[in-house]
């Protein structure tokens, strides 16, 4: 079973170890990842981890892009466990959080020397929006990938393996962002998007509640 949850301070060491895995990961993440930035990201609630048998096997960082977007950042999975849809599960986790926050889209930025993510992202509903030519130091292009959350494309939830469970909470600050986004959309005359966000919110809340219940049930041996 794979559990997806927000990272806590105790996870920082394991996250850093995966990020700096020397065989392949470190070069795609743009170099050695220091511990202090990971701590800061974990503290701000912007890091999800994948856990198997009490061990961290993957992580994904996503930073707020204003109130309206979520910018995907570092993501890595233990080399031995790749191609088991752990990254997919992590990204779907961010999709659920984005819905709870009323965000309109997820954005990812991929350097052209990364062979993996351009194959993963279309399966999750991302499409390339902008190709910034020669944007990074080594003359490589940087592609901005975009996935709309409005209308909610819930189909990607079914790409998550049945052995994955989410333990996410519907936090107060998510509610705040959701209501501010509602006001912003209304002020822009986008009532249809407000309606879609509410539909997404309700279905996501239900999904998150169900996943959390299943998680609690598995933890206490089915006695709930």
């Amino acid at each position: 079973m794979t559990l997806i949850r927000l990272a806590v301070e105790d996870d920082v060491g394991a996250i850093q170890k995966i990020a700096n895995e020397p065989r392949s990961t470190v070069s795609h993440l743009g170099g050695f990842v220091m511990m202090e930035p990971i701590k800061a990201v974990v503290k701000s609630g912007s890091m999800l981890v994948a856990v198997q048998s009490d061990s961290i096997v993957g992580f994904s960082e996503a930073l707020p892009f204003g109130k309206h977007g979520l910018k995907m950042s570092l993501v890595a999975v233990t080399p031995d466990l790749r191609r088991q849809k752990i990254c997919t599960s992590l990204y779907v986790g961010w999709g659920l959080i984005a819905s709870l926050q009323g965000r309109l889209y997820l954005q990812d930025h991929i350097i052209s020397n990364n062979p993996t993510m351009p194959m993963v992202l279309p399966t999750l509903g991302f499409s390339p929006a902008v190709v910034l030519r020669s944007k990074v130091k080594r003359h490589h292009d940087l592609t901005l990938w975009y996935k709309s959350m409005c209308p909610q494309t819930s189909g990607w939830v079914y790409r998550v393996p049945s052995t994955t469970e989410y333990h996410l909470e519907d936090l107060e600050r998510y509610h705040e962002n959701f209501s501010q986004m509602g006001q912003l959309l209304s002020s822009r005359g986008r009532s249809e998007d407000v309606r879609e966000s509410l539909i997404a919110l309700n279905s996501t809340r239900e999904y998150v509640r169900r996943c959390s219940l299943e998680y609690e049930r598995s933890r206490v041996g089915g006695s709930l």
Binding site: G69, A129, L132, S134, H139, L185
Partner: protein, 229 residues
């Protein structure tokens, strides 16, 4: 005749420019422009049609990275004027040792000047929906002079560029950073390093027809802020 020059403090006071920006009427823009100009680097470039008195302006937004710079539209809706400015911005970026100029141009509440980017040799790189905090879409234009070539000045314009100590300081700093990047420091298939490409591009810009380079140590009475190289 179109006169293109780096905006200086007195230009703002002289109302050489155009009042408030379209779509951003809340901005006290002359005050904002003065603060930006005070940075010591060429910040806003203006173009004036000396016959009609029409004008336009585009500014550098930030220079956080060593290799690229982001620009933003400030005012004016005449495509030919904006195109002249955009060419000047590419030349200015070359003098600073940068390889890319980009603009995330908001499509809403702004004049239709997209054609100016294409005229100046920029390439359309895509559209991003709901990009800004106000949920405005942007069209992204980029210019990479190594791929797209150095733009030629238009026949009816004259441009004054600034190559002061601040610009030279950034040029040197950027070359130092490139040296740490193995791919840029390494010779390409023709045996040329990126530093050589930049030196050659700076030479080309300095020798463009109808382009004057002002080589003042500092500028607009701001010499104390100049940095020696």
């Amino acid at each position: 005749m179109i006169s293109v020059s780096v905006l200086q403090k007195h230009s703002v006071d002289d109302k050489y420019v155009w009042g408030k920006r379209n779509g951003d009427s809340y901005v006290d823009w002359p005050k904002f422009a003065k603060a930006k100009i005070d940075s010591g680097l060429p910040s806003i470039i203006g173009a004036l049609d000396t016959e009609t008195g029409e004008s336009a302006a585009v500014g550098f937004h930030y220079r956080r990275t060593s290799h690229s710079t982001d620009i933003e539209w400030w005012g004016g809706d005449r495509v030919d004027l904006v195109a002249c400015i955009l060419r000047a911005m590419v030349w200015s970026a070359i003098l600073e040792g940068r390889k890319r100029v980009e603009c995330f141009h908001v499509t809403e509440g702004r004049p239709q000047i997209d054609e100016a980017f294409l005229d100046a040799g920029f390439k359309f790189e895509g559209t991003h929906k709901d990009y800004t905090a106000k949920l405005e879409d942007v069209n992204v234009y980029g210019h990479v002079w190594l791929q797209d070539g150095i733009p030629e000045p238009s026949s009816n314009s004259h441009t004054n560029l600034v190559y002061n100590d601040r610009v030279k300081f950034y040029h040197e700093k950027n070359l130092e950073l490139y040296k740490k990047d193995i791919d840029l420091h390494r010779e390409d298939k023709k045996g040329i390093t990126f530093a050589t490409h930049i030196a050659s591009a700076v030479g080309t810009v300095c020798n463009l027809p109808r382009v004057s380079i002002i080589r003042a140590p500092g500028w607009h009475g701001n010499e104390k802020k100049s940095v020696s190289v």
